[in-house]
Symmetry: C2
Subunit: 201 residues, 2 copies
């Protein structure tokens, strides 16, 4: 009996699974220590992989960071955005997004809380592809919120509101609540709920 | 002629000046790269000092971080809080604090923008004296804002507002504006002004 080499498609599938396991763990680490705290060697040790194996999958630290940012986005869409899309658009969906976001930060989905709250401050003054990716994701989130506010205004659910300004405020308060949760301040989730309620009525 | 040793009080004064120069530069570095990006060796190189001299003034990295946090607080008080205290308490002082804060982040006072926006996310999940110091400073700032809101309510300048909630919102929007400035988004300062105006009327 010969030990046949693994077929190419199986090897590719295994590589993709390993890549995902690494970037998912990297997202947890980055939520605590920032994307600059990532190193191929440390991730290999944490996951019981060889450093050379990890280095083959991500040739540079920047490639690892970019792949981690993309994995974080997917996990966020699964935890917050997709489940909330069951709610009707407008005020109801904004409330659903808010509730999902509070759970996302409180549970939390990433060990250190909100991935973007942890990483935007580190990269906002650091031009390059990682900052660009984080900025695109932030903008997509603000656009999603603004679209729901606009819908609430258009259908008469609320009086006139500047959708972009309200989206900016909602995001600001969610991010502040994430900090407050990490610092152990009382009832950040309720603060968010009261602010959103005030904005939408 | 003998070279007399420098008197003790002159040596202490010189030590204090050097300490301040180091921590002021460290606050700039930390506003860009976080307090964990600080190292005694790097600061010594940046400022043309000997590493052993810097190490004598700050025996551990944590002592350097704590001294930096304190220097940042003093600089913030000078730039934002003290000048605004010329305005009468209540709504006028809140507007003065806001304007000073926008300049503080826009100019900016620290190279990387708001010192706390850069460092709270890094330390909020990291128990210890640095997190405690940052948290105390954050709370003092929130209390200052809440006190002015309360004054505005008590003197009938605004209708009833939950002072702590409004302070939380103002701080959230200022911090978000700092991120927006660093990312080059349009008119973050105006967004803050419109939100504060909306909150106080």
């Amino acid at each position: 009996m010969t030990t046949e080499p693994m077929p190419v498609d199986q090897r590719l599938a295994r590589g993709a699974r390993t890549r995902r396991a690494i970037t998912r763990h990297a997202a947890d680490v980055a939520s605590l220590e920032g994307l600059n705290g990532l190193s191929l060697g440390r991730l290999a040790t944490d996951l019981g992989l060889s450093k050379s194996g990890v280095a083959t999958l991500f040739r540079t630290k920047e490639q690892l960071q970019l792949a981690t940012v993309e994995t974080a986005r997917e996990a966020f869409l699964d935890a917050v955005v997709r489940p909330a899309s069951d709610a009707p658009p407008g005020a109801a969906r904004l409330r659903a997004l808010t509730e999902r976001w509070i759970s996302y930060a409180e549970q939390p989905l990433f060990t250190g809380g909100c991935f973007w709250a942890a990483n935007l401050p580190e990269f906002d003054s650091r031009p390059g592809p990682v900052r660009d990716a984080l900025r695109r994701q932030r903008q997509a989130w603000l656009d999603l919120l603004a679209g729901q506010v606009r819908h609430a205004v258009d259908t008469g659910e609320t009086t006139y509101l500047d959708a972009d300004l309200v989206a900016f405020q909602i995001d600001a308060v969610l991010t502040a609540a994430n900090t407050a949760m990490r610092l152990g301040e009382p009832h950040p989730g309720d603060k968010v709920r009261r602010v959103i309620h005030g904005l939408l009525t």
